[in-house]
Subunit: 186 residues, 4 copies
């Protein structure tokens, strides 16, 4: 396949995944975000990068948001929300951090491809992004055109950015207000 | 709009952008990646996160890849390739780093929405991702359904992951070989 | 030299550097930190790591602190303080960021070994850490027992941690209050 | 205390800690570093920043070094060395990563204040940095002039930089060769 065709195929596969998400899980996610005192996000590898992209937009929307592992992250407490992204739901450090957050009294929501995973069972709420056979570590077959977890990570980004669009409406934010909060030292 | 409709609209807008990319620019990009001694990637904000996601896959493919600004990045030299992602093409530190890389004798390729930007004019090669009116800093109108540079950043991720699919073919890599290189400490 | 002697020699050289700092510059630094609405820190390479260590303690002390380049950093504004660490005072991206911060109306303080550097002349206030002949990029002689900028980076850490001790007194913080703010997700 | 006196007191306390380290543990550490195929470093919080500073110097010395959690880190294997810094030796994610590395067949060395900690017992080799009563999470008394783990983190930096001086001799590296490897994109 050439560069004229590959992006279209990826978008078709993304549509398949996103069409199968449950809108009610998305609405619960939005409510948990709106209710949270502060929002902490967490993920490893490329999933972690997509979670960071989400955290940045949460800040632009006026939420108090932190990325677990960055320098000036305070302690998590009751009333705070931890959002964890892990396609397999078995990533060791993410499961570990979700457990610590729950112990500290925070609410935990997991975005995962595996609703029966350790992470999903540990979380208070789950958003299932149903990408089959793509887990980087555990699976040995491929049913989509991309290697490793690429389809899962792309689904995570698009899904979270759809949540951002919903949050803009819910919080009546304008793009201008968001732009004013955008980092100006880069 | 609800969570049942927003992801579909985002994917439609992504298709519009990716359909307008020039496949010849993509093929030149692939050739530069294959020819490079080592590959350095660079970007700020959410574009920077997408560039990191690309660097991780380059490593999985067996390339020697570095993210500018991370801890153990060596000095760039002649024969090396710097890949810079900046939708506006005016991000100050990215322009600054592209200039330093060029001075050190490296090849510079820019992925940008603005082929007439400072970055694009400074680069040896350009891939244009034609996202209109979405630049986070410079624009004041919106022609897509998302705030700030979200559409540009999503386009960047999908486009770079399409390049990864092309590179898999070119280097005859299997998903299994890539999985074996995947970080196992996370 | 063996591991029984090297640490002692390093500490002797550190004492030489720190003894030559001007306590009045330190007291001005403390006043600027106490007066700032929010504190942004910035640095590259190992100096940047020492600046991050400082930002973390500022958060523990109850200050609102950000590391430039991390995910959820908001825009800098008038009333904010940018603290830049650069031994040479010529690091391109740090000089660039200091210029952007000044343009945005923020106060800039530089910690540097070179009071006549581009960064020092650009900053509103300067703390001189007088480490001679150690600059990683510009110098070609060594007058201390360590390679590259190690002595400068160690001086930066110890100096900033001395500022932390001063700030504890000034803000009447206890170690217990600081511990309660410490990240609990790691 | 004023800025004229605090740095001296910190240096005195650092000397106390470093004088009590066991030079034989340092020599074993040097041998493990020289024997390793590749070196991975790991740590959380400020200890993690000091480990990163060490990884950067390892790269300057010509070692193949990675920071666990950064973007282009490959999988760890037999023949590789994981260096973990944790003053308490109980930091959950560091213990978790040390376990994964051991399972993957890598050698694990721990730098810690607590030789009887979970991390120390899990590691193949241990360097004890005997900082008493300073653990950020577990201790409730202070026997030094600084809050939280500052003395431990400073000890870690100075100790690791002493190891760097030893490695320069062992590998017959010059400062000039190290400077040539220094990042030139910053």
């Amino acid at each position: 396949m050439t560069m004229a065709h590959i992006p279209r195929q990826i978008l078709d596969e993304l549509r398949d995944v996103l069409d199968q998400t449950d809108p009610r899980q998305g609405e619960l996610f939005v409510q948990l975000l709106l209710a949270a005192k502060r929002i902490f996000v967490c993920g490893q590898g490329r999933s972690g990068l997509m979670m960071k992209a989400f955290a940045m937009r949460l800040m632009h929307l006026g939420f108090t948001a932190f990325v677990v592992g960055e320098t000036t992250v305070p302690s998590i407490q009751g009333g705070d929300l931890l959002v964890v992204g892990s396609s397999s739901g078995e990533t060791a450090t993410s499961v570990c951090i979700a457990g610590l957050a729950k112990k500290a009294g925070a609410t935990v929501i997991a975005l995962t491809g595996h609703p029966d995973s350790t992470l999903a069972r540990l979380a208070h709420a789950v958003v299932v992004l149903p990408v089959r056979n793509i887990d980087a570590t555990h699976s040995h077959t491929r049913s989509n055109s991309q290697p490793l977890g690429s389809l899962a990570e792309q689904s995570l980004l698009i899904y979270l950015d759809a949540i951002v669009v919903r949050l803009m409406t819910e919080t009546a934010q304008t793009a201008e207000a968001m732009r004013a909060r955008h980092a100006n030292l880069e």
